[in-house]
């Protein structure tokens, strides 16, 4: 496609297109430049995810006005993982260790002795629990007892937009969001796609 001077223009597509598309594009470019988007930008898209980028970013970034409950007694449409439940005084405590076996003392039903003194159904010292919405580390100041193998609760899993990080315990300031189960599936689908 050439302009009035005969010089080649950026093709609207390398496949045949009609002049209405070309005219629309030229007009749109004038508007874009007039709006101030002149400074050059170039982004490299992840291979295998080009067609999914816009939709997965949208579902990851879209957060509901009412955030979902962090812990539920049953699965729902949010991406969740099972977590141990225990007690701290009169409140329920939910373990958010990504490796849940690190939530408790010696394995339930075993006769091993935890050198840190925890019994089989106590929160392991150093493990992280959520009590009344507050994050705390099990230890002398936060004793979690009666950790039960079932029923467990379902904790929200927080993920990054690339799907490379997923955790029950997002650090303050980390760019992680809870996502719907379908969104997580699409993020993973874009990540493992064999396209490109």
């Amino acid at each position: 496609m050439t302009d009035a001077t005969g010089k080649q223009q950026i093709p609207d597509s390398t496949v045949a297109g009609d002049t209405r598309v070309a005219d629309h594009s030229k007009a749109r470019r004038r508007l874009i430049l007039a709006a101030g988007a002149v400074l050059p930008s170039i982004y490299t898209l992840s291979s295998g995810a080009q067609t999914a980028v816009s939709s997965t970013l949208a579902c990851w970034a879209k957060q509901p006005t009412s955030p979902p409950a962090r812990f539920t007694t049953a699965p729902d449409n949010w991406y969740r993982s099972e977590v141990y439940v225990g007690d701290h005084k009169a409140s329920g405590a939910y373990c958010v260790m990504d490796r849940q076996e690190n939530c408790i003392g010696p394995a339930l039903g075993s006769h091993e002795i935890d050198p840190r003194g925890a019994s089989a159904n106590e929160g392991r010292e150093g493990s992280v629990w959520i009590v009344d919405g507050t994050r705390g580390t099990a230890g002398p100041a936060l004793r979690v007892t009666n950790v039960r193998p079932s029923p467990k609760a379902y904790g929200l899993v927080y993920v990054d937009q690339e799907g490379t990080i997923s955790t029950l315990d997002p650090k303050l300031g980390s760019n992680l969001n809870p996502v719907a189960g379908s969104c997580w599936t699409s993020i993973l689908g874009g990540r493992i796609s064999k396209l490109g």
Partner: protein
């Protein structure tokens, strides 16, 4: 049509120190234009890039006129896009050129 701005003369030393840009012979670009930008497929390595108008015009300039110095590319961009130097400073074009060089889209040489 905008008036052609003649290339200003510059000292020999300054001209020699400026990199000159060209597209490698093995390169093949496939462009497609969407509302959100221009998608360009680098067939040589199988990478896809999202460019805005300025970046796409820069790549096209280098492709059509190999061996241009950065300052010459900048002047032609200002004419082509009909913008002022304040809106599109030379430094932005320099940074873009080196970014494209990092991506293997263009190469630099010193004459």
């Amino acid at each position: 049509m905008a008036a052609i701005v003649p290339e200003p003369t510059s000292s020999a030393a300054a001209a020699q120190s400026e990199p000159r840009w060209s597209v490698p012979a093995r390169q093949h670009f496939v462009f497609d234009d969407f509302d959100d930008g221009i998608v360009m497929f680098d067939a040589a390595v199988g990478a896809t890039h999202l460019l805005n108008v300025t970046a796409a015009e820069t790549l096209l300039l280098v492709q059509q006129s190999p061996g241009l110095a950065t300052s010459a590319i900048h002047r032609r961009l200002l004419q082509k896009l009909e913008v002022s130097e304040a809106t599109l400073p030379l430094a932005a074009v320099e940074e873009l050129a080196w970014r494209m060089e990092d991506l293997g889209l263009i190469t630099a040489s010193r004459s």
